[in-house]
């Protein structure tokens, strides 16, 4: 059900609240269209922003985690959603030589499989995630090769 009076009033309010709580997010939070907010932050500030979004802004659904190869860095986007359909996509980057991110399984136990995916396909290192069954590559996949990285070429 869309708000006929002002289609992005709630989104802009969320934007204001985020920037109000985290001034460094000024110019880093963008409302792309109704129900779509994109925010960029850095690795250190990610967890407080994430926690705020979950606990204070009502983003209680984690849709998935996207990993990207951004040349010198690896990017991670956490796609959060609310009951009313608004989504908040928070992105941050880490250096490729040391792509360490912290697990968010303490907030969302469903995050585990998404974290395993970025470990397998992009070579991310997830701090705080226990050893587990890998997903989705086969056990005999050559170590240290990450198919979703841009420089990976199939040489078999």
């Amino acid at each position: 059900m869309t708000d006929q009076a002002s289609p992005i009033a709630r989104e802009e309010e969320i934007q204001k609240l985020l920037i109000g709580e985290f001034p460094f997010l000024q110019d880093k939070v963008r409302v792309q269209r109704p129900r779509r907010i994109f925010a960029t932050t850095d690795a250190q500030s990610f967890e407080p922003v994430f926690k705020f979004a979950i606990q204070k802004l009502g983003f209680t659904i984690l849709c998935t985690i996207t990993g990207l190869d951004n040349a010198a860095t690896l990017g991670f986007i956490y796609h959060l959603a609310r009951q009313d359909g608004i989504t908040l996509n928070i992105q941050f980057d880490v250096p490729k030589e040391n792509p360490v991110i912290k697990t968010v399984t303490r907030y969302f136990s469903c995050a585990e499989i998404y974290e395993r995916e970025v470990i397998d396909l992009l070579g991310a290192k997830v701090d705080g995630l226990e050893e587990g069954i890998r997903y989705p590559l086969p056990d005999n996949w050559p170590k240290g090769t990450y198919p979703l990285r841009k420089d990976w070429k199939e040489n078999t």
Binding site: P138, P147, E154
Partner: protein
């Protein structure tokens, strides 16, 4: 001996037992294979029965482009089938990799792993095409034409032709 062979052959033709295996497909072909058994198409009137285990199957009906994880399982299942056995590749992916041709983690076709007796193209192969393919294979069996048989001791992909 020849008579026994003909009886066995007749039994196989009249009631081939098939094993369905998905080697990493999108399910479209698999659902069409199952649809081929439902009342509209009713493959069972040709005597075809789907079996749950390779040890009782004559025909391996395979869909999917063969992901790397499943390759070993596919070979193992094929080895567990008693001779003579035939493989039908259902769908474009099974024939040549289909849209997934060239993707990493995919072998691009069943015949990269096993000898295929019949190819049924389509994306997905419609139940009519599947029935057509199965019936064609049965008629080849019936005619007693030379078959390509594979000894499981040979390396994957190599075949030795034996004339009847």
């Amino acid at each position: 001996m020849k008579i026994i062979k003909r009886i066995v052959n007749w039994a196989r033709i009249k009631s081939p037992w098939i094993l369905h295996f998905n080697t990493g497909a999108c399910n479209a072909c698999d659902i069409e294979i199952v649809a081929a058994l439902t009342p509209r198409y009713d493959l069972e009137r040709f005597g075809v029965i789907i079996k749950g285990t390779p040890r009782h199957a004559d025909v391996l009906v395979c869909s999917g482009p063969v992901t790397k994880q499943i390759k070993k399982m596919l070979k193992r299942i094929y080895d567990q089938m008693p001779e003579p056995k035939f493989v039908i590749a259902v769908g474009s992916c099974a024939c040549s990799g289909g849209v997934f041709n060239g993707c990493y983690n995919v072998e691009s076709g069943i015949d990269k792993v096993l000898p295929v007796a019949a190819y049924i193209p389509g994306c997905p192969a419609s139940p009519k095409a599947i029935i057509d393919g199965v019936v064609k294979l049965l008629s080849i069996l019936e005619s007693g034409a030379p078959l390509v048989k594979v000894k499981s001791s040979l390396p994957l992909g190599m075949k030795e032709e034996k004339k009847k």
